[in-house]
């Protein structure tokens, strides 16, 4: 009897799941060529391995997606949506729009999963309120990209400490070279500099407190960050006119040998090489230490996949998330993206010194920040970055800017 019942339940549940199986709706913002190709590959492979599932893929424009996700999670939820780690997912988690996927993280019984072991270092950035809300599948490092030949020509070795870094800037400036290039037209590049200055001056925990609105912007520790920033801005170590240039336009002086460094993400390597630089004259180093003894956290924006809580086909959605966590899948995807896999069992593209350096740095990182505009709420981030840009052009307005940001903080985190 019990056996029969079990069979019945099995059949019923089969019927149940097959009623929902069939189509898996996936929304992504991977509109750029490489991410688009990667997701094409992912979907083909997933369908190949799961012949009972047909994937319906809605490809959104990368920029527009940030708005559309707010709409479709409520009105027309897919079964899987991609998004970002850290506080960027907080509003959706809070509004109950993302499904808790802690079971995927906890259960090591999944085929090839074993997330507890293989992705432990990324768990923190997927955790809110003790639960995990998605699966990360790719990230990339930030740091300082530099012209090796310009360094050699001026007798500079890779700076490890702040003093060495400032000294290197001074030498370069002396030689008529812009020490650091930056294009701040779209604001976010300034946040890369701010994040690193804060992470190195005050540490990861303080940075998180600040982006979570727990610390006023007028705090002396924030002032300390700007004191360090002053040391670069006031002598004119950054590219002039940065506010008129996009991040990519600011690559030009570096390509032409008029600027030596760029605080950037690894995606800058491809266009730099396309414009004529090579491994022989382009290098990468970790952002130098400022306050000795503070553990080195890094900036590593992470892309993730989530299940909307109102999804119709959660069974297959989970299969998809597990699939995305697999070492072989992440390895292949990241080769196509030219980025780093989260799963520590995945290999990286051979012969790319930048990826190798990034992997090494991130595997040894104390913690990972997601980037100011992902760690802080959108409204705060937008005002903050506007402020950073204004400060970089007018360092004497620092106090006024910080007071304005404090006003915004009090409103945003109310």
């Amino acid at each position: 009897m019990r056996k029969i019942l079990a069979t019945l339940i099995a059949i019923a549940s089969l019927g149940y799941s097959s009623a929902f199986a069939g189509t898996l709706v996936i929304n992504t913002d991977t509109s750029d060529p490489a991410p688009k190709a990667a997701f094409e590959w992912i979907i083909n492979k997933f369908e190949e391995e799961n012949p009972d599932v047909t994937v319906e893929w809605n490809l959104f424009d990368h920029e527009g997606y940030k708005q559309s996700i707010r709409n479709f999670l409520n009105t027309n939820p897919p079964d899987v949506a991609n998004w970002y780690a850290g506080n960027r997912m907080l509003p959706f988690v809070r509004a109950g729009l993302f499904e808790d996927v802690s079971d995927i993280w906890a259960d090591s019984g999944w085929v090839d999963g074993n997330l507890t072991e293989n992705m432990e270092h990324a768990k923190k950035s997927m955790t809110i309120g003790g639960k995990q809300w998605g699966i990360p599948y790719t990230y990339y490092q930030w740091g300082v990209y530099y012209r090796k030949d310009l360094f050699t020509m001026n007798g500079i070795s890779v700076p490890k400490t702040w003093d060495e870094f400032v000294a290197a800037c001074a030498t370069l400036k002396e030689a008529g070279i812009t020490p650091i290039t930056i294009g701040s037209k779209y604001l976010w590049t300034t946040a890369g500099v701010f994040d690193y200055l804060n992470l190195r001056t005050n540490g990861y925990e303080f940075h998180m407190d600040l982006t979570l609105g727990k610390v006023p912007y007028t705090d002396p520790k924030v002032q300390a960050v700007f004191d360090k920033w002053d040391e670069l801005v006031k002598p004119g170590y950054f590219l002039e006119n940065h506010a008129a240039l996009s991040w990519q336009e600011a690559l030009a002086p570096m390509v032409n040998g008029e600027a030596a460094m760029y605080v950037m993400g690894n995606f800058a390597v491809a266009p730099l090489k396309e414009a004529g630089l090579s491994d022989s004259n382009l290098g990468f180093f970790q952002f130098p230490e400022i306050t000795p003894g503070i553990p080195m956290a890094e900036e590593a924006p992470t892309d993730t996949v989530h299940i909307p809580s109102m999804a119709k086909n959660k069974t297959d959605a989970k299969r998809f998330l597990i699939f995305m966590s697999r070492a072989d899948v992440q390895e292949e995807v990241n080769k196509m993206l030219g980025q780093l896999p989260i799963n520590s069992k995945s290999g990286v593209k051979k012969g790319d010194p930048f990826l190798a350096a990034g992997l090494d740095m991130l595997n040894n990182a104390y913690a990972m920040a997601q980037f100011y505009d992902r760690d802080a709420p959108a409204e705060m981030a937008s005002e903050g970055m506007k402020g950073f840009q204004e400060y970089m052009s007018n360092p004497d307005r620092r106090q006024k800017i910080l007071e304005r940001l404090e006003k915004v903080r009090q409103r945003v985190y109310k």
Binding site: E63, P91, K185, A243, A378, E379, Q389, S393
Partner: protein, 310 residues
């Protein structure tokens, strides 16, 4: 059978005569209904709705909270708002240049030489192209390092000066780009105007030995009044709608210094970094109020003309 038929036909006659009696009244209603319905649903109602939303705090996800005039109070304490408002004034004033320059061009081109028609079309060309494209072109134009104006800047000793990164001049840079299609627009209005002026008066003026300028000032310009009026109206509206150029060229930057109300509203209410629907609506309400002055002025003038026409 025949009775039934006749009763039907009387009814038809009665109906049609009822219709005939009233069709003069009913036809305009029938003809107006679809258009008006669309217009009320998509234009009139949204205006009222926006004014209401401006009294709420609302992020578009969660329920609205009524906060009275607080959005407006915040607005008047918001330095970016004043920057945007002041930029709108700059736009209004500088954009007016399109009117005289367009007139000048029209006079310059109002000749009949070989190929002038093609030349006129090519001068008009920028107006046909999307502002998105114009904005992109001018952004490259202004690049401090390799832009088209870089050699000129070097020559006058402003090497490396970037107009779009300079908080004091960036807005003028955008306005200049915006003038490009607007001048074309005004030019075409004036070309048509010039085509229609009364040549007898001009000939008479010439006979009297009037100098070119006084001829222009006393005879031509008054005749161009309708064209001037239209040029001013479209230029004012264009200046207050200056959204596309700002969105493409600077996105309001550097640090908000090129914001105009139209863009600031969008940025606050619907961009990547802000979902302040109520606050955005308050900005829109201010913009709407400013625009209302011109609308009322325009309509008053049209009303005068209508009265004359009757």
């Amino acid at each position: 059978m025949s009775q039934a038929a006749s009763s039907i036909s009387t009814r038809t006659i009665r109906q049609s005569s009822w219709w005939k009696r009233h069709q003069q009244k009913l036809t305009p209603i029938i003809f107006l209904t679809p258009g008006l319905l669309f217009f009320v649903v998509y234009v009139i109602w949204p205006i009222l709705s926006s004014l209401t939303i401006s009294l709420y705090q609302w992020d578009g996800l969660s329920p609205k909270t009524f906060i009275g005039l607080e959005n407006y109070i915040m607005l008047f304490d918001d330095e970016y708002f004043y920057v945007a408002l002041w930029n709108n004034v700059k736009w209004l004033v500088c954009f007016m240049l399109a009117v005289p320059v367009g007139l000048g061009l029209a006079i310059f081109l109002n000749q009949t030489i070989f190929g002038i028609r093609v030349v006129k079309s090519l001068f008009f060309f920028p107006f046909v192209i999307s502002q998105v494209v114009i904005g992109l072109i001018f952004t490259w134009f202004y690049r401090p390092d390799y832009g088209a104006i870089a050699p000129f800047l070097n020559f006058i000793g402003l090497e490396g000066w970037s107009i779009l990164a300079d908080e004091d001049y960036a807005t003028y840079g955008i306005i200049f780009a915006g003038l490009y299609p607007q001048i074309a627009y005004c030019m075409i209005l004036y070309l048509t105007g010039l085509n229609n002026i009364n040549s007898d008066q001009i000939e008479a003026g010439r006979m009297d030995g009037a100098k070119s300028f006084s001829l222009f000032w006393n005879i031509v310009l008054p005749q161009l009044r309708p064209a001037t009026f239209l040029a001013i109206v479209v230029t004012v509206i264009g200046a207050l709608r200056s959204f596309d150029m700002v969105a493409i060229m600077t996105q309001g930057g550097p640090w908000g210094s090129t914001n105009v109300l139209a863009y600031y509203m969008f940025e606050q209410a619907l961009s990547e970094y802000g979902y302040r629907m109520g606050y955005g609506s308050a900005i829109a309400a201010i913009l709407f109020t400013i625009m209302m002055f011109y609308i009322v002025f325009f309509i008053y003038r049209m009303y005068q003309n209508e009265k004359k026409g009757l």
